[in-house]
């Protein structure tokens, strides 16, 4: 853990960090907060879409 913390602090990347086994495996369970993140992003997209279509002079609303 100490080593990991140090790595995070420096942000340094070297050849020794190329072990990829843990970054593609062992996916966590999908959690409700992720559903919220996805859904709220799409809701925000819908909101900005309407606002944008109203404001942009070149949009199909105009």
């Amino acid at each position: 853990m100490a080593e990991e913390t140090k790595k995070q602090d420096t942000g340094t990347l070297s050849g020794g960090d190329m072990d990829t086994s843990s970054v593609l495996e062992n996916a966590e369970e999908w959690e409700p907060i992720e559903t919220k993140l996805v859904v709220w992003s799409l809701v925000a997209a819908g909101f900005f879409l309407i606002i944008g279509l109203m404001l942009a002079p070149s949009s199909i609303f105009h």
Binding site: T20, E25, G52, P57
Partner: protein, 549 residues
Amino acid sequence: MAKTQRAWYSGMLTTEDWWAVWLGLFFFGLGLLTLAGVDLVGWVAYPKKWVFSLPDGAIAKKIVTMDKSFYALGGKYSQTAKDTYKALGPIGSILITYLVFTVATTIGAYFQKWDVKKYLAGWTIIFFLTYLVWFIGHHAFFSASVVDLKKSHFPDMFTLSLGGGASFILALIVGLIIGNFFKPLANYLSTAAKPEWFIKTAIVFLGVKVGYLPIKAVLIGSKLGAKGSQIGHEMANLTFDLFVAGAAATIVAYLIFWPGVYTISRLMFKLPRKTAAVLASAISICGVSAAVATGGAVRARPIVSIMVSALVVVYAVIELVILPGVFTHVWPGTSDPIVAGAAMGMAVKTDGADAAAGELLDEFMRQKVEKESGGKIVWMEGVITTSAVMTKIWIDMFIGLWAFILALFWVYKIEKHEGDRVPFSEVWFRFPKFVLGYFAAWFIYLGIFFGPGQAGGTPEGVSILKAAKAGAVPVEKGFRKLFFMLTFMSLGIITDFRKLAEAQFGKMVWVYFVALVFYIIPVAIVIAYLFHHGMTIPNMAAIPGGVIN
């Protein structure tokens, strides 16, 4: 988990993140001195497209002979030291570039407590190897587009039309060869092969580019005005419309792209959260830069950003080769050229590949419409390219904001354990600091534009903007691309394919492919359509004397 108190300024002198800020802002500051009439950045050596010898009748405009394949940018853009920088020649400018960046980065290496001797030796090899690859990658065979050939009056040469992207790919390939087949050399170079540091520094330089954009637009516009008030008026309106539509389309695209790719990564391909977040940002936003920024925000292991960055580069080149033809002949087609351009900007994930793809698209579309109309419609050159670059620029602008939002969300929502109080300082420690340099550079140039530059509304303002341009171009063009090249070279050097293969790198390749082809590109076209449908390009054939190509 034991927590230790950290001062808010911890790491300012010892981390790559902060050193990207210091390095980036130092050179940005040097660039600003042109406002005071002092040009200290024009020495940077920049490549030109070249051939061994020009054929009969050709002119050395876009493509030059080998002996002129590098030039000091100040020789073209400086207002106060043009002759001095011209006199440097290719070798002189490369040597000064080497000296300046050697001193600057070695100071950074010293404070980061790296082995300075090893860094210096490794840096020297990587630097000159990078310039050699930059040189080779700019041979016309790799880089010249149809437009370049046409302007140089030898349109028959066969080229791959990869633009500056060819050099990036070559740098990656050479790095990969060293990293995988010359391992003792790769180990020797590893002290100086720092892709994260280089890319973060390049992102600070990218802030200069974004801030410089309105300055560039005004200065180009003042030239266009001379060609006729009608074209000037149409272009001014079009540019403004592209600016607004690009902003709106980009925000919407973001918010649709990211959750979609994240969901595909997590549910279809079963990737861990942090990896999925970095991948989603890279595919949705701005490739390499977004991967690094998001990796910092969610505290993913650096290897994630590196793997994703490598994928971004490869896919960007594939897109560059395929999309201009598809967009011209299949969908959206010449009936909606600006839609196609804007969609390109949202679909191609590196600046270089996007600009090159936009330029190809511009050429393909103009040729097609001119041929089909029997010469009655001749679109102004560069408008489609501009539409592609405009959405991309907006995307670049939002990298930092998105990284910040993700950092907040990750700290307060994803990783918050029951009963834990997450101190606000954690957000600060997770925040990718180089983004501060990016914003500082952007806003200061924006301040110059609206402040003393008076948005180019007066002759005095234009004069100040011209002085600002002389300092901005070497930084946003020369320094930025050099650091991108160093990034790709270093990326290859530290990448061990055997380990990547063991870790099922292919899985990530498929996520990228599925997300890009079945989600990003179609959605990009639909969003581009909603915001750009019906926008027209000035027809030069309708104006007496308007066809100037």
